[in-house]
């Protein structure tokens, strides 16, 4: 096994080196492009106009690059010039933000801003199409910037590598014409909405989960509603599922993200009917798009009515009772003695092979990886008591210890709490930190997802 380890280390080192070299290479390419762009400008106009004035005309390179959209009726040179002088802020460089940024930079948007505090992780790559294996660990904003500059060096990319907060939002958003909500949590959605209302910026809002997607444009036009007009009260936290827990298909975020770019382009160019006061619902499983009519502005909206109750940004995590990230929020439901940590569970396996190990994840997750002796009883079947039938006589003896586990140790606590009500004298504990803890503390070869 030493050999395997050596090989793995060598692979890891090489990946790291290749990543560093790629970053260096990209920086050099960018410098070259900058220099080339400067020379071209001088050739184009011997009077050497300032870059700002130069944006009022299309260069030969622009004409060649954008020819397929330039010939569109209703778009044309005027549309291209509007795009060239426009700026779009994309909040979230993930599954929605990547394709949105790709199409906006590709179409010749003059300035794209990217907001994201997170770094590239391997589990992002299936849907976050600007990031690559060599850029794992890099800031998502920087990784996306490299990809976008390779696609279109004429598009200026600004990286705002931080969590958007009530203290930074106004300052960042102020400089942009249109804002794309490509975020992954409720608190950020309210924050972005309120800031965009105060700064009078149209907000193109996309979201996706599993095989479903939704899209609408807030704060656009005279009657167009804002997020708070539609959702005056945030949903209860237990009703909110993130992509890390619920799963999502890349082609679904790709569909919605691409449409966000389309709506932004339409707003900038003044093309077609913008999706304001309407909500697009995409069901990827039946491949149905539905366009529904939603209400217009709410007369007594707390933020966008003529007499708003909210006049400065508030604490959105408190307002929503949820964090402004989609990262784990560990539950603390059980007392310490009702839990067993991964190392102690390993010891228990050896000392007391006769015990009942219940894995409460969904069958699709159980199929990915499982501990050898585990029985799969999804949480829903614990909560509706159908587990009693499934496990039958195994639950009869108080002497048989029961350990409940899940992916990260949240659902297992809910299950233990429920089971303890029925079997107060049994030894029922949950595996603290779930399979993630098992992998990090006991068996590094056990896969994590």
């Amino acid at each position: 096994m030493i050999d395997d380890e050596a090989v793995n280390n060598a692979k890891e080192r090489l990946r790291q080196e290749i990543g560093d070299l790629t970053a260096q290479l990209n920086a050099k390419k960018q410098r070259l492009r900058d220099l080339e762009a400067t020379t071209t400008d001088v050739d184009d106009d011997s009077n050497a106009v300032s870059p700002k004035q130069n944006q009022r005309a299309l260069t030969n390179d622009d004409i060649a690059r954008y020819s397929r959209q330039l010939i569109l009726p209703g778009f044309g040179v005027a549309g291209q010039l509007k795009l060239k002088t426009s700026s779009v802020l994309i909040v979230g460089a993930g599954g929605l933000g990547c394709p949105a940024a790709q199409y906006l930079a590709g179409a010749g948007c003059g300035h794209v801003g990217l907001v994201d505090y997170d770094r590239v992780d391997k589990s992002n790559l299936h849907r976050q199409t600007l990031h690559t294996i060599t850029r794992i660990g890099m800031d998502k904003t920087e990784s996306a910037k490299i990809a976008l500059e390779e696609l279109n060096p004429h598009c200026r990319i600004s990286c705002h590598t931080r969590l958007l907060s009530r203290f930074t939002a106004m300052h960042i958003i102020r400089d942009y014409d249109v804002v794309l909500d490509c975020s992954d949590n409720v608190a950020t959605r309210y924050l972005l909405n309120d800031a965009c209302v105060m700064l009078r910026k149209p907000l193109v809002s996309g979201s996706a989960l599993k095989l479903d997607g939704q899209l609408t444009v807030y704060n656009f036009g005279v009657t167009g509603p804002c997020y708070r007009c539609i959702y005056p009260v945030p949903p209860p936290p237990e009703a909110v599922t993130n992509c890390g827990d619920g799963g999502v298909l890349g082609a679904v975020t790709g569909t919605i993200g691409s449409l966000q770019a389309l709506e932004a382009i339409k707003i900038i160019v003044g093309l077609g009917d913008v999706l304001a006061g309407r909500l697009l619902i995409f069901d990827g499983s039946t491949l149905q798009f539905r366009n529904i009519r939603i209400r217009s502005k709410r007369e007594n909206c707390h933020i966008c009515s003529p007499q708003p109750l909210i006049t400065e940004l508030i604490d959105y995590e408190q307002f929503c009772g949820m964090h402004a990230t989609d990262k784990d929020n560990p539950l603390q439901l059980l007392e310490p003695e009702q839990r067993i940590d991964a190392m102690d569970y390993k010891a228990l396996q050896q000392q007391q092979p006769a015990h009942l190990l219940i894995d409460v994840r969904q069958p699709a997750e159980f199929e990915i990886c499982q501990l050898p002796s585990a029985v799969n009883v999804p949480l829903a079947q614990i909560l509706d008591d159908s587990y009693l039938k499934q496990l039958g006589s195994q639950l009869d003896s108080k002497e048989l210890p029961i350990v409940v586990l899940c992916r990260r140790g949240n659902d297992s606590q809910i299950a233990v709490q429920h089971m303890r009500n029925r079997f107060p004298d049994h030894s029922i504990r949950d595996l603290e930190g779930g399979l993630h803890a098992w992998s990090s503390q006991v068996d590094p070869s056990f896969p994590t997802y």
């Binding site: 992954d184 979201s207 479903d212 619902i281």
Partner: protein, 102 residues
Amino acid sequence: MGGTPDLKIILEFSAGAELLFGNIKKRELSLDGTQKWTIANLLKWMHANILTERPELFIQGDTVRPGILVLINDTDWELLGELEYELQPNDNVLFISTLHGG
């Protein structure tokens, strides 16, 4: 009873709301046509008859919880009187959970 007119409507669920109703996305309902059916009555009926998972994720008080949109014939129920709207034959009532992921 023979001769009693039924009120036929279609219920649809989208973006995860179906998970609370036996994972069925579309249902055709025949309600007792001798009484008046408002959305408020319909919600009570749904709660009693077809809601299979954690009711608090669908109902709060006598209305739907925040974050679920109700559409009647593809139009926001807020434009149509919300709970007071009286169901008509062949109405399509759609419940959508709001998504937040990206």
